[in-house]
Subunit: 163 residues, 2 copies
């Protein structure tokens, strides 16, 4: 694993193997409210082994770049969506899986108006808002059972701002 | 019905008969991420007759006060949550039901960091952001069937800023 990774802009294509970008991109699927509002319909692959979807609020401390990432986690029983409640960017660290451990991490920075939905079981860093309120609505699985796996790196990798 | 109603601040108590306020209020239910993040757990009463929860993005034009409200709507088959993706306020018009029509409307103005979840079947106005991006994540029922009832007033009522 590289010890330093550079941030990338969050795009649906680049993020496709990790999750969904939740944003008003392209043409709306439907115009509602007498044309005053566009509905971009059903943009997250919600996927729960059991239990049900719920909405929670996360209030997180913010971080700054460079950021040393000490661990990643994943939720084997369900997808997890993060919807920022301010227009401030947040850092989205994700990784592929290799034999049960995170591999080849990447770090995306959101633009205003972007949320994400992590697909079930995808390795990700903890919530790392880059400023603002640090406030998110989270849509994830509400249910019993062990839905958290963590992996701590021997040495944290460093996320630095791309040039 | 009054022809003019005054805005109210959105509080959980005042809104309880209409829905849930989604905000980081009180003590978090759980501290996560080594104490860096508070989780306010499962704060919305999601309630779907059938189908399933989904996340859509709404991009709406903004409005200004005073606002003339021409119609209200309700969704008999499911709850509907509105999570603002900016820290700008939005207007939440709701009403009780009397014999199948909206009665005694009220108009709440959100504070930064507040979203709402309308309970299933509650009469409400269309999305009326008071500024900013006009961008919301909406968690509602994804499914077939007639899930929209509308009621048009003979004369719109006017929502004015409280003194």
């Amino acid at each position: 694993m590289s010890e330093i990774i550079h941030t990338e802009s969050l795009t649906a294509d680049a993020f496709a193997s990790f999750g969904d970008v939740l944003a008003a991109t392209g043409a709306p699927d439907k115009l509602i409210n007498a044309g005053r509002c566009g509905r971009f319909h059903d943009r997250a692959q919600l996927d729960f082994a059991d239990g049900q979807a719920g909405i929670s609020i996360f209030q997180s401390e913010t971080v700054t770049l460079p950021y040393d990432c000490p661990l990643m986690e994943r939720h084997p029983l369900g997808s997890q969506a993060f919807i920022p409640m301010s227009a401030d960017p947040f850092l989205v660290i994700v990784a592929a899986d290799r034999d049960g451990t995170p591999d080849a991490p990447r770090a995306f920075v959101t633009a205003p108006g972007q949320g994400i939905n992590l697909h079930r079981g995808v390795w990700h860093g903890v919530l790392t808002p880059l400023g603002g309120l640090g406030l998110f609505a989270v849509v994830d699985r509400i249910g019993e059972g062990a839905n958290l796996e963590e992996y701590t790196f021997d040495t944290p990798f460093r996320v630095v701002q791309a040039d």
